[in-house]
């Protein structure tokens, strides 16, 4: 079983931060010093050059989500935080894997990559490098299945996510919660 299983422990935060030196260190340092566990982390420039977006999957068993979000929000370069519950997020991850192949297994691997809609991006005499993008569960499944052929090297990017779009027939309002400026006062439930 992969360590990347989706369960209720893991919440995704997309954090909009100022695009300035050292901001990632501030975010990572906060998690380290307060004992919050990061499950995965991905950083990239956003559509606005002044800001970057950090997607953090946090383990809410290490600390209450409320505390993690509020402490994060106290960092001056953090502009806004959007919390995506597992059920309310479209999450994707990219995997690159180099796998051993023999004349007997080469066909099986190619077939498996086809089934998962992956792509072979490099070919050697006895190795293939495969790229696969998909939901974390799909990537988990593929990783499980490919393992038996002999993984030489494997890298995953960590998750990126956007809120699920609301539809008119959507009964639940459990979509994304934008925290930050908006989240000033609250009351215990």
């Amino acid at each position: 079983m992969s360590a990347y299983g989706i369960d209720k422990r893991h919440h995704t935060l997309t954090v909009l931060v100022e695009n300035k030196p050292g901001v990632l260190a501030r975010v990572a340092g906060l998690f380290a010093r307060r004992g919050y566990n990061i499950f995965s982390l991905a950083v990239a420039p956003s559509d606005d050059a002044r800001f970057s977006r950090i997607t953090i999957v946090v383990d809410v068993e290490s600390a209450p989500l409320d505390q993690i979000v509020k402490q994060l929000d106290k960092l001056i370069p953090v502009v806004s935080i959007t919390e995506l519950a597992p059920s309310a997020a479209r999450e994707r991850e990219l995997l690159l894997v180099t796998v051993e192949v023999s004349p007997e297994t080469r066909g099986q691997v190619i077939e498996l990559v086809g089934v998962f809609e992956g792509k072979i991006i490099d070919v050697g005499h006895d190795r293939l490098t495969v790229m696969l993008a998909g939901s974390p569960t799909k990537v988990d499944d593929f990783e499980d299945l490919i393992r038996s052929y002999g993984i030489v090297e494997l890298q995953r990017t960590g998750r990126v996510a956007l809120p699920m779009l609301e539809r008119s027939d959507d009964r639940s309002n459990a979509s994304a919660k934008v925290l930050g400026f908006a989240k000033h006062t609250e009351k215990a439930g």
Binding site: I76, E186, K187
Partner: protein
């Protein structure tokens, strides 16, 4: 030459002047040299310290006494690392501080250059924010941002790291408008949510055993007057935490004094038995709550704090209001108006309900809360509190036996011999707890101590900073001998700058608080706590630093020595009080114990009082 063209160093000093900085505490060195040159021509007073830690604590003392941000300036590397402790201290106690550090030239950063340290990295977790300046043109904006961040929202320390080449580079002067500040992620909320405020007001009126749990946020928000109005209108008694001493007058009949590990029985037990805690600018620190699971088990909680991260961090609040304490209390008062709470005649009683001239060693006689602030519903509660105050006062017994000068006796005598608005700074340990317990704090910003971090050596430099900020007031440091040895060299600074602070050194020849724990919890196995009463010779040391030194060994010498110290106003004074090492701080709640397991002075259990 264009008059607007100047060096980064000049721009930095000019920016500090624009922020109306009147004094900064510092010590120069290689990387900060360019910044020290324009200081000669500046209106800002610079106080040359003897160790950078002193600069930081002086800035803290200045900030706590005046409510304005304290400014310290030091060089790179060791200068910066020496001021790490004051930064951590100010961060814990939410003290507004602006610290400027020199840094090696930008071209050398990352090369392990001479006196290089990763200052922004080191201080990231102990500052509210910090900046590494990489362009001289950013200096005015960064300084304006730094002061804005340090002084708004939950106040705290900030740091500006200034590379040498940036200080030497030229820039064109400007001063930013508030809208020019580049802080898209910083928007502190100051006003409470009206709906929650109304809900809190209703809870307040419905409670039968309410207690106001006032914390340091009252002082930060300058909310003392509002707090007093709230207490008097509702008749609700108030505990003031170590960080909030003086925010509500000790002599007020509704004041219960300090709660917590060494709080008095009534303050601790009032919280334990309460059905509603109104936490105002307090953060449920472990020293206040004891074992959290056993803390105030029947209480609902209203928690007002400007930092939303404090809500539900330790104790789940039933109503959590984000906002500035003064504004939220004022909103609460309006909500109480609309709920029809009458303005009682007692709303403007003067302070002074407690006689301060009680005989030494006698319990402080409490005023009767119930008498002055009649209100249906909570009279029984206040009667109960009065009963506890009479039954479990703070006590000690001064004897005539040699070598038994009690620290409490010294503090009571000092309290009674000094003006009511005297500023008291303390270090950390037994003397700090005795001072907090036995002083009568009736004015805000007169108690200056290291609460959250517990930094030994805080008192001497903090008292110097306080005196610089409030030269009109008498300033006493209450210090222990262990603490004094950590930062005493700053008395050289005080002497040379003619800052007449007075130091009451409670010299019991031990690291007293550690000794107390070893006595109570380690079977009297005293490990590495003995210091010696006369090594160093404190009087000789004080005199060598330009101070007046006085030694006091017996109770009858205490008053005259204090009178002499009070009459000296041109140099610092150190009184070496040789106190009884066996005296322990009571009451005490052992670390990790429930507040219900409070240990009061053994004499109260024997019934000798």
């Amino acid at each position: 030459m264009d008059p607007r063209e100047m060096t980064g160093a000049q721009a930095l000093i000019k920016s500090l002047e624009m922020q109306r900085v009147e004094v900064m505490f510092g010590l120069p060195g290689g990387a900060i040299l360019p910044v020290y040159d324009p200081i000669i021509d500046s209106s800002i007073r610079h106080i040359l310290v003897r160790h950078e830690q002193g600069a930081g604590h002086m800035a803290q003392g200045y900030a706590q006494a005046t409510g304005r941000p304290g400014v310290a300036i030091v060089t790179s590397g060791p200068g910066a690392t020496n001021i790490v402790t004051p930064l951590a201290d100010a961060y814990m106690d939410s003290t507004p501080l602006v610290v400027i550090t020199g840094q090696v030239a930008t071209s050398s950063i990352g090369s392990d250059a001479f006196q290089e340290s990763d200052t922004t990295g080191i201080t990231m977790g102990i500052t509210k924010h910090n900046w590494l300046v990489t362009d001289a043109n950013d200096i005015p904006r960064v300084v304006a941002e730094a002061f804005h961040v340090a002084t708004t929202g939950r106040p705290g320390p900030v740091l500006i790291d200034m590379p040498k080449d940036i200080a030497q580079a030229s820039m064109e002067w400007y001063w930013p408008e508030p809208s020019d500040l580049d802080l898209p992620g910083y928007h502190p909320v100051t006003r409470g949510d009206p709906e929650l405020v109304r809900e809190a007001a209703e809870m307040l009126l419905a409670a039968e055993r309410p207690v106001i749990y006032a914390g340091g946020g009252i002082l930060k928000a300058r909310a003392s007057e509002s707090l007093r109005e709230l207490a008097e209108r509702t008749g609700i008694p108030v505990v003031t935490t170590l960080m909030a001493r003086g925010s509500f007058p000790d002599s007020h009949p509704l004041c219960l004094g300090m709660p917590g590990m060494h709080g008095n029985y009534t303050a601790v037990t009032a919280m334990q038995r309460s059905d509603l805690l109104i936490a105002l600018g307090s953060r449920f620190d472990d020293r206040v709550t004891g074992r959290v699971g056993a803390f105030a088990p029947e209480a609902k909680v209203i928690h007002v704090d400007i930092d939303p991260a404090e809500h539900h961090k330790v104790r789940r609040a039933d109503v959590a209001i984000v906002g500035d304490c003064r504004l939220v209390i004022d909103e609460l008062l309006m909500a109480l108006d609309s709920l029809g709470l009458p303005h009682s005649d007692a709303t403007r009683v003067g302070s002074g309900g407690t006689p301060s001239d009680a005989a030494p060693g006698a319990p402080a006689v409490p005023g009767s809360p119930a008498a002055s602030f009649p209100r249906d519903g909570i009279d029984l509660w206040r009667a109960k509190l009065s009963e506890w105050q009479i039954r479990f006062p703070l006590v000690y017994a001064q004897t005539d036996a040699p070598g038994e000068l009690k620290p409490q006796f010294v503090l009571e005598t000092l309290r009674d011999a000094t003006p009511d608005d005297t500023i008291v700074a303390s270090g950390v340990g037994q003397h700090q707890m005795f001072a907090s317990q036995w002083w009568k704090f009736d004015y805000p910003n007169t108690w200056i101590n290291s609460g959250g971090l517990g930094t030994m050596g805080f008192a001497v430099p903090a008292s110097i900073g306080a005196k610089v900020g409030r030269p009109d007031k008498m300033v006493w440091a209450v210090d222990g001998d262990g603490c004094f040895q950590m930062t005493a060299q700053e008395l050289v600074t005080a002497s040379s700058e003619r800052i007449p602070v007075k130091i009451a050194l409670l010299n019991n020849a031990y690291l007293g608080m550690v000794r107390q724990w070893q006595e109570m919890f380690y079977e009297e196995r005293y490990s590495e706590v003995y210091l010696s009463p006369d090594l160093p010779d404190y009087v000789g040391w004080a005199e060598s630093m330009g101070c007046v030194g006085i030694r006091v060994e017996s109770p009858e010498e205490v008053g005259p020595a204090i009178d002499k110290a009070n009459s000296i106003d041109d140099r610092p004074v150190v009184i070496d009080f040789r106190t009884d090492a066996s005296e322990k701080v009571y009451p005490m709640v052992a670390a990790g114990a429930s507040n219900d397991e409070i240990i009061v002075d053994p004499s109260l259990m024997r019934g000798d009082n």
